[in-house]
């Protein structure tokens, strides 16, 4: 069973009367890769900065290994950060940048040299020690920033949108490498991003945030398949969201038709939001189909086609491998276990 490493208890942070982080509670286990995900301004970076010690919470407690660390300055926390724009020291070369933390800990010179070289190998930049920081590419600076943090063997590594400035290909490679690194080092990673794909690829746990509030905490599959509300459903992946009614147990009605479903926990006749992922809708013959519509557009996306189908003036997005012509009538089918129901928010 994994151990609770850090816990936020009713943490609130306000700037100039604007509540950026609103009474959030959260715990993070050892060796976990946790992602704070949300649109800009949702409070995810502020949360990270409070864990790092750069901001103090107005109220609530940050508990590390059972000790409240609210007042502990960053330089006394066993936590290191990879900053958004890397924040490498321009007056030092790569070696001295990475050795910065070790020198502060008064590690012997010989050991510093070894650990820096090991860290450089880990980020696949061996023999880069003598280079100047300014002469490195964005991707290389990124790796040096990671090396500079992990060389200190922190308990927790904070990453503030570290891949945001990289191009797509590099970003995808780094995602795998980061995940691999986390597995190898056994360090808890707390990762902040607004990129849902990044979050789904790397995380053990995702915390979806909005307006300073936690919307949902769960595994990537859990959050993708069982979003708790419209915001989460929209933010994570694409989805068709429909208004419906829970007719009775295992039966839901939307678009004027009744469907079997597996979700429970709703009252008979309760209004619900229905989420159907684009890849869960199957195209069938319009004759005898429960939902019949007309294809209004078709876009080739490489692996699949993205079709828009108008059903009763409502637009459905469908991912399918077979192309249909615009204007063609199609029938839609969805399996009962792929209909996800959510409580309606006020």
């Amino acid at each position: 069973m994994s151990k609770k490493l850090i816990e936020l208890r009713n943490v609130t942070k306000t700037y100039d009367d604007i509540t950026v982080v609103d009474n959030i509670s959260l715990y993070i286990n050892e060796n976990e890769f946790i992602t704070l995900l949300g649109p800009s301004g949702c409070g995810k970076t502020t949360t990270l900065r409070m864990i790092g010690g750069f901001e103090k919470p107005d109220s609530g407690e940050i508990i590390l290994n059972g000790v409240v660390v609210n007042e502990l300055p960053p330089y006394e926390r066993p936590i290191n950060t990879v900053f958004q724009r890397y924040a490498l020291f321009p007056h030092l070369n790569v070696f001295d940048n990475i050795a910065f933390g070790l020198k502060n800990q008064k590690v012997p010179k010989q050991e510093i040299a070894e650990r820096v070289e090991t860290a450089l190998k880990l980020v696949s930049l061996p023999n880069f020690g003598a280079r100047k920081v300014a002469n490195l590419s964005g991707g290389q600076q990124q790796r040096i920033a990671i090396a500079r943090a992990i060389v200190n063997r922190p308990k927790i590594l904070l990453l503030d949108e570290p891949l945001a400035a990289l191009d797509l290909k590099l970003r995808q490679n780094m995602q795998y490498e980061l995940k691999e690194m986390q597995r190898k080092l056994g360090i808890t990673f707390i990762y902040v991003t607004h990129d849902q794909e990044e979050a789904l690829t790397m995380s053990d746990t995702i915390v979806v945030m909005r307006d300073g509030l936690i919307q949902q905490i769960g595994t990537p599959t859990g959050i993708y398949n069982e979003p708790r509300n419209r915001f989460v459903a929209r933010f994570i992946g694409e989805s068709n969201i429909l208004e419906g009614t829970y007719v009775r147990q295992n039966v839901v009605s939307f678009m004027g038709v009744e469907f079997d479903c597996v979700d429970i926990g709703f009252a008979d006749g309760e209004k619900v939001d229905v989420v159907i992922r684009p890849e869960d809708l199957d195209l069938i013959d319009p004759v005898g189909a429960k939902l019949v519509g007309v294809v209004s557009s078709s876009i080739f996306k490489g692996v699949h086609f993205e079709l828009c189908v108008i059903v009763q003036e409502k637009e459905f997005v469908i991912h399918t491998y077979e192309n249909k012509n615009v204007g063609q009538a199609v029938g839609l089918r969805v399996d009962s276990y792929e209909i996800h129901l959510m409580k309606v928010e006020n």
């Binding site: 790092g52 010690g53 750069f54 300055p73 960053p74 330089y75 936590i79 290191n80 950060t81 900053f83 958004q84 724009r85 924040a87 490498l88 020291f89 321009p90 007056h91 910065f100 933390g101 502060n104 800990q105 500079r148 943090a149 200190n152």
Partner: protein
């Protein structure tokens, strides 16, 4: 930027520079090899006298030493006062930091001769300050106008130099401090340096360009100027600036020119140093 590309546009500038800078400089070089009565070239004769005096006359060495000693002391004091001011302003929460900086510049709007004459009065025997101090029994610290140490250090001259040139120290240092990315300081703290360590390991090294520029911008005019030593120094103290002044006053243009060239070379050397440290010239606002 090459001259051909700009063509005729640079012509007026070239003419202007040659007539007002190039020609006089050439004239000065020529004068150093002559013995003449002021600019009376009719009676002038070729002579190495000026060069001989430069290397043999003890007055030149004393003047260079005095200028150097007072210039260095003034520069150090400017740095010690200026760096904290620049640091505090750069890190303050004032919404309009520029206003604070303008405050340091405002005294420069009045003529520096006036200001230094005013300082001379305050530092002299018959000043209000002296009256007050001597009446409460503190007459041993005032007046400091005539005080001169054996090293050539004149407190009055240094006070004048510091008050005149302090803004030239503050501004370049402020400019670099302001540009330092705050996340670098956070990174330093994140990696285990407390605030003092962060200052010495990150902030100060990153501000070294501004410090160099500030030092040179204070030291050069302090070293070469003649007005402040003339107004505030006691008559017995000779500075390189006052020496040049007196040579020209005595119609010895030959030696005056040579001394001016020596200073010019020192200035060029320092400018070369600035550009070596600060290639983009970003601290020179």
């Amino acid at each position: 930027m090459n001259i051909k590309k700009l063509g005729k546009l640079v012509l007026p500038y070239l003419v202007w520079m040659s007539v007002l800078v190039g020609l006089p400089l050439l004239m000065m070089v020529v004068l150093t090899f002559l013995k003449s009565n002021a600019l009376d070239l009719g009676t002038a004769e070729f002579s190495f006298d000026s060069w001989r005096i430069l290397f043999s006359d003890v007055t030149v060495r004393i003047a260079l030493k005095n200028s150097f000693v007072n210039g260095i002391i003034a520069t150090i004091i400017c740095f010690v006062i200026g760096y904290p001011i620049a640091y505090i302003v750069a890190n303050s929460n004032f919404s309009n930091k520029l206003i604070i900086l303008v405050l340091t510049i405002i005294p420069m709007w009045s003529n520096s001769l006036l200001r230094n004459n005013a300082i001379a009065n305050i530092l002299s025997e018959r000043s209000i300050v002296n009256d007050v101090l001597s009446n409460i029994g503190l007459n041993f610290i005032w007046p400091i106008r005539g005080v001169v140490y054996e090293s050539g250090f004149s407190p009055a001259v240094v006070i004048g130099l510091v008050l005149t040139y302090l803004p030239f120290m503050i501004l370049p240092i402020y400019t670099v401090l302001e540009k330092i990315d705050k996340s670098l300081l956070e990174a330093s703290m994140d990696l285990g340096s407390n605030k003092i360590k962060t200052f010495f390991k990150v902030t100060f090294p990153l501000s070294i360009k501004g410090v160099t520029t500030g030092i040179i911008m204070v030291f050069l005019p302090s070293f070469s100027g003649f007005a402040i030593p003339k107004i505030l120094g006691s008559g017995s103290l000779v500075f390189i600036g006052t020496l040049i002044d007196s040579r020209f006053m005595n119609r010895n243009y030959n030696f005056g020119s040579l001394l001016s060239l020596v200073i010019l070379l020192i200035i060029f050397g320092s400018m070369a140093l600035i550009f070596k440290v600060d290639k983009e010239g970003e601290t020179l606002i």
